[in-house]
Each structure stands twice: as structure tokens, then as C-alpha cells.
């Protein structure tokens, strides 16, 4: 028994604190004799946390030392450094403990490198009682007790319910202590409390044994009950910030390890090591897995975001994992602009080389489809290819940006996000038509995006006379409106926080309802024309909190409570969203633009910005936003930067180093052309226009106003149904029905017949070779290769007017992936 206990406590010690035993184990970089081996090319050394404050006799703080090598790789050298601390504090393992009130310095030396952290110790004679809010509640999160599958379920589990992820501490306290007298909490015999017996597995528990009876967490629970199971929900300071150290890690070689420490900051100014209480997670377990105590282990080459969740805060560190011993020689390419500098910097860290620059033909087709949604015409092709000006690509971008179709592409995008769609018996066609026209006009006339958003969010008036108010007509519920605004303009999904604190982001229910309060005073009434709705500020109406019915004051997301007494709340919010200081808006819009041209956002999905979904290249992300602000929200200028960058103009052919990478813009992404643009291209190359309801013959699919109107082709190819604001609505994933429709359906075959292009060209005196070339140029933006020409020539032989054969060629080209994709 004794042995068992010894083993058990040994195990627990490992779990609870690696640092205690670290020196006796064989950590990487250490010789078996125990003498640290100093890695030669270390460039710097850091100690975390960089400042330490111990605030009572029971306080402690774990410490780590991280060395950074010249090539950027970081090493966890906590066990290799020589730690020195004197006076007020002492080190037990890697845990710093208080000795006496006063100040001292924690020093670490690693070879010739030194690092230190100031240490302040106060109140060593204090031994604070266990806090429900800050000691007990976090245990439920750490133990998974309040997760959705367990007691956090809305109906609880086995008769006991906790609020999901702890969104309602007062409710949890009530259910623990009052819902079932004495059973859950037994003040006389704390060990008999169900709270204790269940988690320690003393009585049958569906969730099994969550903690050992002598674990620190079980002890906390017992101590809390023993001290009278007091609630400090109302008085406890709140957690204002959580820090995760080290902030950035580059691990080399599979199996490399790095310890993380989490420090919470409270509203009363205190800090605390929450390594025992925080929940550690990784968004890419295969590259960097992290255990419950914050020890990360490198896996496959890649990138992970290692996170710690404590209270309502989730924080993360970027963690790169590089293969060991790979020779990497960066290509020496001069950057075209700031984009290439930032993309290049990231690629070098990842030891990835970008692909080369694409051909002029590839560029012309790519940029035409992306900027104006059309394929280059034969004339455009000839002019561009024969232009010897080295600046011709930039000139082409400028030329395309001035075309009306550019505005139409972006009007289409905004119409998707804003869900422009008539709904029988609710939303009439006319306001949607006017709304769509308004959006197109805003973009065509170059209204800065911030101004457009202010006009949209602050709009009042009739849905005919002020079409922007249709934003509030399409979605009528306050909460969904708030969610849509957050998702469309801030890229943040608040939906979870309607019912519980967001599990992977910082948003709490308080944040949610305070944010919806901006939309709680929208008044609506029908105008004289029943199809028109008047949206106005009715200056009354509050958002009430789901849990306790509190009327929530409007509060910006993660920001201040503004004075809304004299103004339309929506206008106040619009000003905040579009302010240059706003941390979400400009970067989100810029990222959406980036994603349109690059196929993938710097943050992806573009409308799911959260702590746990960080940017693949944070510097680039920030810079794009900053540039958009610098350009006074001029969309065209940002597009110009992107299209002129090498990052955009790269070939889609991978090289050895970048073949597995999809998030760092090392090569062009091959993208299916979106449904509307694809149909327009098909109509254009075959010369057989479509007829859409409410639009004249020859109008293009991108001009369709009403999301409710569609065709079989558009639906099959993933036209956005415009039922949500999600950027994921337009689908470009290939499906079987798409292939069948192109192969067997009417679209391609009929259009070839209707357009009579082959006949017309042959009648005009073109020979079959020229016709084939024309088909290739129209559809693929390139001439047929030698082999293609040869193989095709075999098809028609010596016939002078091989109409059927050439139509077959045309059909085959239109069915090729090269036509359907933008590469």
C-alpha cells in the first residue's frame, strides 16, 4: 500500500508540476551525468514570466527559461540554466515560493547568456481562504465537469447541472449548495459531500474519477466546503487578462518539448500562476500536442496555436515545428512590395521557398477572372502578350480596376454577405432591387468602405427612399442582427455567447447582450406602400440578459461602454466599428479582399476571427488592415497592392519545400471559378447569353439582384443561397452533379450549338488550326501546346470544315479543369 501511494504521489507530482522533478529526469539537451550541455549558437535567453509578484504566503509562480538560437529555433532550457534567487523568495524545482516580504531578482545563466526577472513578495503571513469564483469554478472547467457532454448540458447530467463552461457562477453556486440540501455539499463532513465523493470516484459517477482524492483540486474542493462553502461570486475580483508564456515557440525536430506557463491578472491588480487550473489546448495536435499541464511536444512539420483557457479568457502562442536537420537555402527574390516582405519573412521562418512567378498568360487569365469576373478576350490577350513594357502587369491591374465589372463583383460579394434576397410575404423585390443598386453604386463610385458601413449601420428611413435600411429589414431580430454585424464587419462569431460564454473565444454572455443592446431600439413600421418598411430609432427598448434578465447597457465588443444617451445607438456603434483604432474592422475587410484573390485568408475562415483561430501570418494580417486604413478604405488601392505582389503572381506549381503548405502563400492556389462568374465566362466564350428574370437579355449572372432568383446551373455550382451572412455560403467544392451537368447537361452542349462559334469562324475563312487556337485562347487564355494541336489535328484530319469535330474540341475544352479553375 505504501508503495502504491508512493507511486501515486510520484505520478501526481509529475502531473502537477514537472518542474519539481525535471532536474532528475533526462530532458533533451542534457547529458546523462546531469551537467547541462550548452547549445553553441544560442543568440538570446529569456526568463518567463518577466516580472513576478508573490502576494500571499501560499502564492507561487512557475518559471521557465527559453533560449533562442540564431536560426530562430527556441529551446526550453528551464532545466539547463543555472537559477539563482536570494532573499525574499526561494526556488523549489521550477516553482518560485515566497520567503519574506521584500524584493529580489531571479537570475538564470545559460553558458554566456544571462536573463533575469524582478521578484516582489508581499503578505507572506496571509493565507487566503479558498475562493469559489477563482479556485472552485476553474476546477469545473479544467475537469471538464461543465462541458456540454457532462453537467454543462442544458438539461444537466444525472440530475446535476452546471452552467456550460461556467457562464453563470451564481447559478452554479445555487445548484451546488441550495438545490439539494446537504447532499452536494455537507458542511459537517466535507468528505461526504457529493461534490467531493463524485469527483474522486468514491461513489459511482458517470464521469468516472475526475481527480485523485489527494490531488490539489480535490483538496481545494474539500477545503472550500470545510470553510463553509462560501460564495464570493458578487465580490470576487474579475480576471482581466491571462498571459501564456513563452509567446512564440519554434521547435525543431519531432519530440522537442516546451513547457508553457499561464498567468492570470485580476481586476484588483493581483497576478497568479494558473498552470494548475487553466485548460491547455492546441489547434493542431499533430504538430504540437500539449498535455494537461502545459507541456508541448513537437510532432510533424507545421504550425500550431497552443492555447490556455482560464475563466472566460483564451490566449495562445504561435508554435512552429520544423523538421530537424533540413538544409534550407532561401531564394533571393526581391520583394515587390510590403506584402512580399511579410510573406517572405514567414516563409523563411518556416524554411519554405515560394514557387516562381507565373507566366503572362496565366497572370492575364487569373487577374481578369479575379478582378472583373471575365475571361480576357482575344484582343486583350494579343495586346497584353505583345506588350513589352515591364510594367504591363501593373498597368493591366489598373485598367481592370477602372472597369464597371469590378464594382459588380464586389457588389455581388456584399450582396451575399448582406443577404440581399426577396422572401415571399416578407421582403419584396423592389426594396431588394433598390438595395442592390445602392450597394453597387457605393462601390462603383468609390465610397470608402468605412463610410459605406456607417451609412448602412446608422441608416434610418424607408426601405425605398433609404435603401441602406434594408440591412435591418432582411434580418428583423435584434440578436441575429447583432450577430450578423459582428460576423460581417468584425469577422467574429458571437452566436455561442447567446446561451453561454464562448468556449474558444473571449466573448461572454455579458459581451453578447451588451452588444445586442446597440440594436434593441430599432423601430419598424410599414410605410404607405405596404412593400416599404420604415426603420427608425425609437429611443426605447433594452437588451436583457438571458440568465438574470438584466437590462444590458450598450458596450463595444472588448471595449468601452459608450455614452448613447443623445444618439442613435447604431450610429455610435458604426463610428466605433469604422474608427481606425478598431482592432477588427479594417483587418477583417482587408482579409476578405485578400482571400478573394489568394483563395485563402490570412485568417481562415475569414469570418471566424477568434483567439483560437489566429492569423497564419499575424504581421501580414495587421499590415493589410493598416494599409486599408492608410488608403482611407479605398478598396481599389488594396487590390492593386495584392495583385502587384509576387505572392499573387506566383505559379501554382509547388516546389519541394512548399508542396504541403496551403496557408503561407508560397504558391498560387488553384481555385474553382465561382458560380456566377463561371456561367458568365461560359456565356461569353460560347457567345450564347443567358436570360435571367428581371434582367435584359445578355445581362450577366453577377448582376442578378435577388438571391432568391437562381438557375439550375448557378445552384449546382454553389451560388450563395444568401440565407446567412457566412462567407462560406458560396460553394466552390466540386460535386458530381456539376460534372454531370457539364458533361451531359444542357449548359455546355446547348451553348456551343446556340453560339455557333465554330461555324461562324469557319465561315469567316479560318482554318481548323486557327479555330482550335481561338477556342483555346477564349477559354483557357493560352494557345494549345504542340502536342494538343497535334492530337486535335488527328481528330479532324484533312476536313476543311470539320464542324462536329471542332465542336467536340470546344466541348472538351469547356469540360476541362483548366477552364473551370483559376490557376
Amino acid at each position: 500500500m505504501k508503495i502504491f501511494r508512493f507511486v501515486l504521489s510520484f505520478g501526481l507530482l509529475i502531473c502537477a508540476n514537472h518542474f519539481a522533478l525535471a532536474k532528475t529526469s533526462s530532458a533533451p539537451g542534457e547529458t546523462p551525468a546531469g551537467k547541462p550541455e550548452v547549445v553553441a549558437d544560442v543568440a538570446s535567453l529569456a526568463v518567463y514570466p518577466s516580472e513576478i509578484v508573490l502576494e500571499d504566503g501560499d502564492d507561487y509562480q512557475g518559471v521557465i527559461a527559453v533560449a533562442t538560437r540564431a536560426n530562430g529555433v527556441t529551446l526550453d532550457v528551464s532545466d539547463q540554466v543555472e537559477w539563482v534567487v536570494e532573499g525574499s523568495a526561494r526556488l523549489e524545482g521550477n516553482r518560485l515560493l515566497p520567503v519574506a516580504d521584500g524584493a529580489t531578482v531571479l537570475r538564470a545563466s545559460y553558458g554566456t547568456h544571462q536573463a533575469e526577472a524582478p521578484v516582489k513578495v508581499v503578505g507572506v503571513t496571509n493565507h487566503p481562504a479558498v475562493s469559489f469564483r477563482h479556485d472552485v469554478m476553474p476546477i469545473f472547467l479544467r475537469g471538464g465537469c461543465n462541458a456540454g457532454g457532462c453537467h454543462g448540458s442544458s438539461r444537466g447530467k444525472d440530475g446535476f447541472r452546471l452552467s456550460l463552461f461556467g457562464f453563470d457562477p451564481a447559478g452554479d453556486y445555487f445548484r451546488l449548495t441550495r438545490e439539494q440540501a446537504v447532499r452536494r455539499v455537507n458542511l459537517s463532513i466535507p468528505e461526504e459531500s457529493l461534490l467531493f465523493t463524485k469527483v474522486t470516484g468514491k461513489v459511482p459517477h458517470t464521469g468516472g474519477k475526475t481527480f485523485e482524492p489527494d490531488s490539489v483540486h480535490a483538496k481545494t474542493l474539500r477545503d472550500w466546503v470545510a470553510a463553509g462553502a462560501q460564495s464570493d461570486v458578487a465580490t470576487a475580483p474579475t480576471v482581466t487578462k491571462v498571459e501564456l508564456f513563452p509567446p512564440r515557440v519554434v521547435m525543431e525536430g519531432e519530440g522537442a518539448k516546451q513547457r508553457f506557463i499561464a498567468v492570470a491578472h485580476y481586476s484588483d491588480g493581483r497576478t497568479r500562476d494558473v498552470g494548475d487550473l487553466a485548460l491547455f489546448m492546441s489547434n493542431n495536435e499533430s504538430s504540437a500536442a500539449i498535455d494537461a499541464d502545459g507541456l508541448a511536444t513537437a510532432g510533424a512539420r507545421g504550425e500550431a496555436f497552443v492555447m490556455a483557457r482560464f475563466d472566460t479568457h483564451t490566449v495562445g502562442s504561435q508554435t512552429l515545428v520544423l523538421p530537424a536537420g533540413v538544409e534550407f537555402k532561401p531564394t533571393g527574390e526581391a520583394p515587390a512590395n510590403y506584402i512580399d516582405e511579410l510573406v517572405g519573412a514567414k516563409l523563411r521562418t518556416m524554411r519554405i521557398n515560394p514557387s516562381g512567378i507565373c507566366t503572362d498568360e496565366e497572370f492575364l487569365r487569373r487577374v481578369s477572372v479575379d478582378v472583373v469576373g471575365r475571361l480576357p478576350t482575344r484582343d486583350e490577350y494579343d495586346v497584353f502578350m505583345n506588350d513589352s513594357n515591364p510594367q504591363k502587369r501593373a498597368q493591366k491591374v489598373d485598367e481592370l480596376l477602372e472597369r464597371k465589372e469590378f464594382a459588380e463583383i464586389w457588389a455581388l460579394k456584399w450582396s451575399e454577405l448582406l443577404m440581399v434576397k426577396s422572401v415571399p410575404n416578407r421582403i419584396e423585390y423592389k426594396p431588394m432591387f433598390l438595395y442592390s443598386q445602392w450597394i453597387t453604386r457605393q462601390i462603383a463610385s468609390g465610397v470608402p468602405l468605412d463610410e459605406m458601413v456607417r451609412n448602412l449601420l446608422g441608416a434610418s428611413g424607408g426601405s425605398f427612399s433609404s435603401p441602406a435600411v434594408n440591412f435591418y429589414q432582411i434580418e428583423e431580430t435584434t440578436q441575429k442582427t447583432a450577430e450578423n454585424v459582428a460576423q460581417v464587419f468584425l469577422g467574429t462569431r458571437l452566436q455561442c455567447a447567446q446561451c453561454h460564454n464562448h468556449p474558444f473565444d473571449r466573448w461572454t454572455m455579458d459581451d453578447y447582450y451588451s452588444f445586442t443592446a446597440f440594436f434593441s431600439q430599432i423601430g419598424r413600421k410599414t410605410a404607405e406602400d405596404y412593400r416599404e418598411t420604415i426603420i427608425f430609432d425609437q429611443r426605447s427598448g433594452e437588451a436583457t440578459h438571458l440568465v438574470d434578465g438584466r437590462a444590458m447597457k450598450p458596450k463595444f465588443l472588448g471595449d468601452a461602454e459608450p455614452d448613447v444617451s443623445k444618439r442613435d445607438r447604431r450610429a455610435v456603434l458604426a463610428d466605433w466599428i469604422t474608427a481606425p483604432e478598431n482592432p477588427y474592422f479594417a483587418v477583417n475587410v482587408a482579409n476578405r479582399v485578400w482571400a478573394h484573390f489568394m483563395g485563402v485568408g490570412v485568417i481562415e475562415p475569414v469570418d471566424d476571427v477568434r483567439v483560437s483561430n489566429p492569423a497564419s501570418n499575424p504581421d501580414l494580417h495587421a499590415k493589410l488592415g493598416a494599409k486599408l486604413i492608410e488608403y482611407k478604405y479605398d478598396l481599389r488601392q488594396l487590390v492593386r497592392d495584392i495583385c502587384n505582389s509576387h505572392a499573387y503572381q506566383r505559379s501554382s506549381e509547388p516546389n519541394e519545400t512548399n508542396s504541403t503548405d496551403t496557408r503561407n502563400f508560397a504558391r498560387a492556389q488553384v481555385r474553382r471559378i465561382p458560380a456566377e462568374v463561371l456561367l458568365d465566362c461560359l456565356c461569353a466564350v460560347t457567345g450564347a447569353p443567358e436570360k435571367y428574370p428581371g434582367l435584359p437579355m445578355g445581362a450577366r449572372a453577377v448582376q442578378i439582384v435577388d438571391g432568391g432568383l437562381s438557375t439550375y446551373f448557378l445552384t449546382t455550382f454553389g451560388r450563395a443561397p444568401r440565407t446567412t451572412v457566412c462567407a462560406c455560403e458560396p460553394k466552390t467544392e466540386p460535386t458530381l452533379s456539376q460534372a454531370l451537368h457539364l458533361l451531359n447537361g444542357s449548359a455546355v452542349h446547348d451553348k456551343i450549338n446556340e453560339g455557333k462559334l465554330v461555324e461562324t469562324m469557319l465561315d469567316a475563312g479560318k482554318n481548323p488550326i486557327e479555330v482550335v487556337e481561338e477556342i483555346y485562347l477564349r477559354c483557357l487564355g493560352r494557345k494549345p501546346t504542340e502536342m494538343e494541336s497535334q492530337r486535335i489535328a488527328e481528330l479532324y484530319g484533312t476536313a476543311e470544315k470539320p464542324v462536329a469535330e471542332l465542336q467536340d474540341v470546344f466541348w472538351a475544352v469547356l469540360n476541362s479543369r483548366e477552364f473551370l479553375f483559376n490557376k
Binding site: 410575404n425 433598390l434 434610418s460 428611413g461 413600421k525 406602400d529 405596404y530 412593400r531 427608425f536
Partner: protein, 779 residues
């Protein structure tokens, strides 16, 4: 049937067909739908059966005269209209009367400019149709169609463009117009406007001498063959609102015409002594006359014009009630205040009239004490943007009314009238629709009769009313009933003598107290639904007086066989209807009650079939049916080359309380065990002879025989035979049908309800034995 008879019948039919040519003529549309005043216009009237003996056009407004009307074919007629030079421009309601009926109402639109027609192709901005400045173009916008017209104007000249599209009342057409210069820059554009609702107008000063292109389209490029328009393009004044928007009957008011690009103009107008339904003033100056007028209010209250500044309680414009406070919310955020004294207990109706005079203002009205304390507020009222407060004065003192725009907008045309008047004793009279959204045409056949229902809702008073048509064609008389104080509907029977001339007459329906103790304001207007939106929302209607016409005689008449016994509450009755079919007519005649008194339901699908002359209409009542003598009418419809209608004479239907009441016991029995079911009977109305009583609602397997009661019975006992397989359970819907015979007619009562429980017999007691189940069914 003899061959001879059959031939006679066939001949008779032919005869009938020629004698009664075409009933129920329709007027679908007019081609063209308008004309210039001071000219004669030939108009093709298009609609089912309208070409069959057209005789007259009923004009609802003065200024148009029918010169000639003739048949083109069965469904078209040509009318020559002379429009007087002083005819009021705008909408004129008309109906066409043929020998056999009266059409629905359609509108004819009088313009002030020479007329022209669009000629396609004119859809290219670069190749517009040239027209002189000063033209009314009649055109059509088909799907995705755009029409361009080019005019020439001199710098400083006023260019006014007004389109009548929706207002033509043909289809839900929403026009949009724009005035563009040669470089395609928009000089002005208009889609909807408060003045014209979905129609549009622009009035601007030409910035330079040159060509201007007028673009005409449907707002969202929709349209169809019925999307016709009249586009008035000229130099005429096109103000948006007339201020102060009205005055007293007979008063001469000086109007400020707001919204004219040449600046505010003044005009004087003499208001009529008797206000018409829709009084409009059409602006006119040396450059021309507007194509349509501005609505004016005529009410018995003095205009008090606002004196700015009047933003505060202290500097509020003062007036004495009753008054019409008139003002303009001149700039965004403007607030106008009015102050007046009132005495405790007084009741004032505060009508904020803005959109009704087609001002863009969407007002909010607030009443406060002079101390500033708010007492009441109103934004919209009755689904319209104008505000209304019924204000009961809480104490003697001074009060203030605030007027602001709902969206804090404002502008030079944001005029309004705050009319504060004493509530008036009034009756709102409606000629009920025979079928929903169809204004009822009143057509009386010579020597026959027709009947209509009228609703009269009293405001501010109660009491019995005499209600009836104010004017009828010669030879037509009306019969009706006194409208009881507790009811608001009454039938009106119109009869024409055989000699009455075929004629049409505009008329109204009036109401007065039977004791004539107080004068009542009569508000009668008939709504013609011209355009309805989705869910039948009213988009465009025309309101006008009623019309009565005398038409050719019908080949049949009907009468009710006067019931001799009452219909009791919770009872039923068969109403006999007899037709007199003239020789040669033997079609089906659909008959139904003109109206059902409260609590009565009548069968709607009864007809007197071919070969028959009689039918019965089943009537049933609920327990709450109003017990009194009701004057009823049965109306009849038949197809005689179109639908024709007639009505019976009045008959009296007495609805009475039940003669007996019954108390049901709750009884139980077992399957296979009969019993006597005794129901206690209490007499409330004595009757003679024996009444048959049937017990209804017995479950399957239970039978009984009808019983009889007399006026002396206190109980009725039904021997129930309960079969061995009678349905087990609680049977709660037993009731009796009691048939009393009075004057040879049955008086059928339904009296309920009782409950009978049928149990399954208990199983015989069993002793379980080894190997044999206790149910005893194994052997």
C-alpha cells in the same frame, strides 16, 4: 315530353336570348385612358359584354359629356367624349350602362396637354422619341422596357414631368422617371412621391438650353402589357403641396403652392359649400396647368397659420378651438407648437392631417399641459402615417400640441393641418360587397326588384335609424326596415315598375335618426378596388358615390313562402323559395339569403334547378341567435347571357326562444342490459298538440324509438335497447330533436346534451386451476 313542347322550349330560349341580350357588362379598360380637356376624344371601352347595347356613361365628376356611344363588337364599344375646357384635370370615375346592366367603375384621366402615343423603338438613350415640350404621352412599359423621350428646353424654363401609371388603376405598376441631360447626367429623378404614391413627378428648372431626355421605366425593370402610362411632359406648374391645405366650406382660401422650382406661388380657391368626396385644386399659371390636382380639406374650423418661432411652450402659436392649426416643418429637426385653452371634460378630436393632403411629413403629435407634462402622443393611426388623438380635457387650463416629423426630417413642402374639432355625430355607411373586393353594382330589372345590404356604423351616438338611397331613377322605389339601435346592418329592396325607363343614376345612401332629434353627418362612399398587392392589400382604390341602374326585365322572379311558424334558437327550419320562370327560361337559379341575422346560418349552395320551380334553403340557428322578427330577403342569380340578379319581397322570419327545456340524467348500463332513459321536460312556450321527440347521438348498438310530448308533459322516457356488443364507453353527445307543429309547420328544436355510459359486464368469478389459465378461455 312531346316533341312540340321541346321545340317550343328551344324557341323560347332563343327568344329569351335575344330579349335579354347581355347581363353583367364589364369595363376592363379604356383605350386611350385619358384625353386633353377642351377636346373630343374617341375612347374604346373594352370589357366583357360591354358592346351589347351600350346606352350611357355615368360620370361621377362634372366636365365630361358623352357625345355618342356605339358597339364595336360584343366586348368593345366606342364612346365619343367631349371634355370641357374647364374640366378638372385628373381622375374621373365612370361606369357604362348597357340595356341589361351597369359595369364596374373605371377611371378616365383628363389631361391639360395635347396627347400623343409612344412609338417603339424608343428604348435607346441615344435614339429617343422626340416630342414637343408640352405633351401627354400614352405608352406602355413591357417587361424590362425603358422608354426615352427627348424634348428641347431653354435655360431657366421649368420642365415638369408627371406620370400616371399606378393611378390608372390597371395593374400594380410602379413607374420611375428621370430627366437626363445629353451627357446622361441626371437633372432630376423620381420613383415614388408622397403626392403620387407609387407614381412619380419631377419639376426642375432647365440648367441650360438644350435637349433633355426623359427616361420612363418600371422601378425594378418589371412591367407587362397592362403597365400603361400617361406621361405629362411640359412647362406646367407641378407643386407638391398646397398650404394651408384646406378651409371652411364656401370659404375662399389663399393657397401657397409649395415645391415649385420657380418658387412659392399663390393661388386663390373657393371651396364648395358641400364638400365632395375628393376635392382637388390643380395649379395653373401662364406656362400651363398641372395634370392632376392637390387634395384640399374642407372642414368647419378656422385656419390658424403658425407663427415661427413656435418651438417652445411659451412662444407656441395660439388659437381658439375648434381650429385647424396649419404649419410646415420647414427643416430637419423642426418642432412646431400650438397652444389653446380648454375646459375640463371637453372632448376634442385632434386630427393631424399631413399625408392626407399628400405632404411628405410623417407626423408625430403630442399633447401636453402648459406645464410641459405630456398627456398623449400619436404617430400613425389606422394604418396611415397621419396622427389622431381623442383628447378628453383633464382640467380647465391651457394645453400645447407638438408636431414633429417621425424621422426628424423636414423641408419646404412638409405641410400639415392640425385639425382640432368637437366629435361629430356621424354614420359611416357602406354598401356591402356582394363578393369580396368587388364593389356592388345596383341594377334593378324593369318590373322586378333587387336587394342590397347596407352597413351603418354609428359614431358618437346611438338609436334607431332610417337608412336609404337618397336618389333613385324614375320608376324605382325602395323598401327597407328601421335599423334597430342594437344592430348595424339592414337590407334595402329596390323595385322598378315595368314602365320604368332604362336609366342610370348616381346616388348616395343616407341615414337619419328615426326621431330626427339630432342631425347626423353621413359618410357614404363606395370603394372600387383597382389594384391589390400581395395578401390583397389595398394598393389603389377609387372612392365614389353609388350608382343605381334600371335594366331590362328578367325572365324569372322569386318569392319566399312566408313562414307560418317561428325558427327557434338552436333550431332549424327549411325556408321555401318559389320561382316564377317565364316561358322560355328554365335555367338554374341560385338562391340564398341576402343576409343572415346574427346567430343564423343559411345554406349558400341552394339552387332551383332546371325543370324545378321550388327549392328550400336550410336555416339553422345557434343558441345565441337574436330572438326577434327579422325582415329577410332571398336573392337569386342566374346566367342569362351573363349573371343577372333579383330578389324576393321581404318576408318575416321570427326567431324565438325554445319552447321547452330538458334536463338530462347521466345514466349507466351494461352491454346487453336495456334501460329507460328519462329526461325531465320544462315547458316555456305552450304549444298545442303532440310534439315528436327523437333521441339522437346514441352509440352503435343502442336503439330506441321516438316519443311524443304534449304541453303537459314533464318527462319523456326512452326505452333503450342495448345490444351485447354496444360500444363501451362514455357517450356524451346525446340530444333530442323536438319537433313541435305550429300552423302546420314544424318547429324543430335541438336540445342537448345527455350522457350515457356503457360498461362491459364484469367477468364471471374464476378460480385458477393448474394448467388452465384464469381467464377460462382455454377450454
Amino acid at each position: 315530353m312531346s316533341k312540340f313542347f321541346m321545340i317550343c322550349t328551344a324557341l323560347g330560349c332563343l327568344f329569351a336570348a335575344s330579349a335579354v341580350e347581355a347581363a353583367s357588362p364589364r369595363l376592363d379598360h379604356l383605350q386611350p385612358q385619358g384625353g386633353q380637356r377642351g377636346t373630343e376624344v374617341a375612347v374604346t371601352l373594352i370589357g366583357g359584354r360591354i358592346g351589347q347595347d351600350p346606352q350611357q356613361i355615368l360620370f361621377y365628376d362634372p366636365g365630361i359629356e358623352l357625345k355618342a356611344i356605339e358597339r364595336i363588337d360584343d366586348n368593345q364599344a366606342k364612346a365619343t367624349l367631349a371634355i370641357a375646357p374647364d374640366c378638372q384635370p385628373g381622375i374621373h370615375g365612370i361606369r357604362v350602362r348597357t340595356a341589361t346592366g351597369l359595369t364596374n367603375l373605371r377611371t378616365f384621366h383628363v389631361g391639360t396637354l395635347p396627347e400623343s402615343t409612344e412609338s417603339e423603338p424608343n428604348g435607346d438613350f441615344a435614339a429617343p422619341q422626340a416630342i414637343p415640350l408640352g405633351t401627354t404621352v400614352n405608352g406602355v412599359i413591357t417587361n424590362e422596357d425603358v422608354d426615352y423621350f427627348v424634348i428641347e428646353a431653354k435655360e431657366g424654363e421649368r420642365i415638369s414631368v408627371e406620370v400616371e401609371g399606378l393611378r390608372l388603376g390597371r395593374t400594380f405598376f410602379d413607374p420611375a422617371i428621370a430627366i437626363l441631360d445629353e451627357e446622361r447626367f441626371e437633372v432630376a429623378a423620381s420613383d415614388d412621391s408622397p403626392l403620387m404614391q407609387q407614381d412619380a413627378f419631377c419639376s426642375v428648372i432647365a440648367p441650360k438650353t438644350g435637349k433633355y431626355i426623359i427616361e420612363m421605366r418600371e422601378t425594378s425593370y418589371r412591367g407587362n402589357d397592362a403597365s400603361t402610362y400617361r406621361l405629362h411632359i411640359g412647362k406646367f406648374p407641378r407643386p407638391g403641396v398646397a398650404f394651408p391645405g384646406g378651409g371652411k366650406p364656401g370659404e375662399e382660401v389663399e393657397l401657397k403652392l409649395l415645391g415649385d422650382p420657380l418658387g412659392e406661388k399663390l393661388a386663390k380657391v373657393k371651396l364648395p359649400e358641400t364638400p365632395p368626396l375628393d376635392f382637388r385644386f390643380a395649379a395653373e399659371d401662364e406656362a400651363g396647368a398641372a395634370a392632376t390636382g392637390l387634395p384640399l380639406r374642407i372642414i368647419d374650423a378656422t385656419n390658424v397659420i403658425e407663427v415661427e418661432p413656435n418651438q417652445k411652450v411659451d412662444n407656441a402659436t395660439r388659437g381658439e378651438l375648434p381650429a385647424a392649426f396649419c404649419g410646415v416643418i420647414e427643416k430637419p429637426g423642426d418642432l412646431d407648437r400650438y397652444r389653446f385653452a380648454a375646459k375640463k371634460g371637453e372632448v376634442w378630436e385632434m386630427n393631424l392631417v399631413a399625408r392626407e393632403i399628400r405632404s411628405p411629413l410623417d407626423a408625430i403629435l403630442r399633447v401636453r399641459k402648459a406645464s410641459g407634462e405630456q398627456l398623449a402622443a400619436s404617430d400613425d393611426n389606422a394604418g396611415k402615417p397621419d396622427s389622431y388623438i381623442r383628447f378628453t380635457v383633464p382640467e380647465d387650463g391651457e394645453y400645447v400640441c407638438d408636431v414633429v416629423d417621425h424621422l426628424k426630417q423636414g423641408g419646404p413642402t412638409y405641410a400639415y393641418r392640425l385639425e382640432i374639432t368637437k366629435p361629430r355625430l356621424a354614420v359611416d355607411i357602406v354598401l356591402e360587397e356582394r363578393s369580396q373586393f368587388e364593389a356592388t353594382e345596383v341594377v334593378v330589372p324593369q318590373g322586378g326588384q333587387t336587394a342590397v345590404m347596407v352597413t351603418a356604423n354609428r359614431a358618437e351616438f346611438g338609436g334607431e335609424l332610417n337608412v336609404g338611397f337618397s336618389a333613385l331613377p324614375d320608376g324605382v322605389t325602395q323598401e327597407t326596415v328601421v335599423l334597430a339601435a342594437d344592430y348595424n346592418r339592414l337590407p334595402v329592396l329596390l323595385k322598378a315598375t315595368p314602365e320604368a325607363a332604362l336609366a342610370g343614376q348616381l346616388t348616395t345612401i343616407t341615414a337619419e335618426l328615426t326621431d330626427k332629434s339630432q342631425p347626423l353627418l353621413n359618410r357614404f362612399r363606395q370603394q372600387t378596388w383597382l389594384i391589390r398587392g400581395s395578401n390583397n392589400v389595398n394598393v389603389w382604390s377609387h372612392y365614389a358615390k353609388g350608382a343605381v341602374a334600371v335594366a331590362q326585365p328578367l325572365p324569372f322572379a322569386i318569392k319566399i313562402v312566408q313562414p307560418k311558424a317561428p325558427l327557434v334558437q338552436s333550431g332549424s327550419k327549411e325556408l321555401r323559395v318559389v320561382a316564377e320562370k317565364k316561358e322560355g327560361f328554365d335555367g338554374r337559379i341560385a338562391v340564398r339569403m341576402l343576409y343572415d341575422p346574427p346567430g343564423l346560418s343559411s345554406h349558400q349552395g341552394i339552387g332551383i334547378e332546371a325543370g324545378q320551380t321550388e327549392a328550400v334553403i336550410p336555416l339553422t340557428t345557434n343558441p345565441q341567435a337574436w330572438a326577434r322578427d327579422w325582415k329577410i330577403i332571398v336573392v337569386a342569380e342566374a346566367d342569362v347571357n351573363g349573371t343577372v340578379r333579383t330578389a324576393s319581397e321581404f318576408a318575416t322570419l321570427k326567431i324565438a326562444p325554445q319552447y321547452v327545456t330538458m334536463a338530462y340524467p347521466t345514466t349507466a348500463t351494461e352491454q346487453g342490459k336495456g334501460l329507460d332513459y328519462a329526461i325531465a321536460v320544462t315547458q316555456t312556450t305552450p304549444f298545442s298538440g303532440a310534439a315528436k321527440v327523437e333521441l339522437v347521438g346514441l352509440p352503435p348498438g343502442v336503439t330506441t324509438t321516438p316519443q311524443e310530448i304534449t304541453k303537459d308533459s314533464t318527462e319523456v322516457k326512452f326505452p333503450l335497447q342495448v345490444a351485447a356488443d354496444a360500444r363501451v364507453g362514455h357517450h356524451k353527445s346525446l340530444y333530442c330533436v323536438v319537433t313541435v307543429v305550429e300552423n302546420g309547420e314544424p318547429v324543430v328544436h335541438t336540445i342537448g346534451t345527455g350522457e350515457l355510459r356503457i360498461d362491459a359486464p364484469l367477468p364471471p368469478p374464476q378460480t385458477a386451476q393448474e394448467g388452465i389459465p384464469a381467464t377460462g378461455e382455454s377450454s
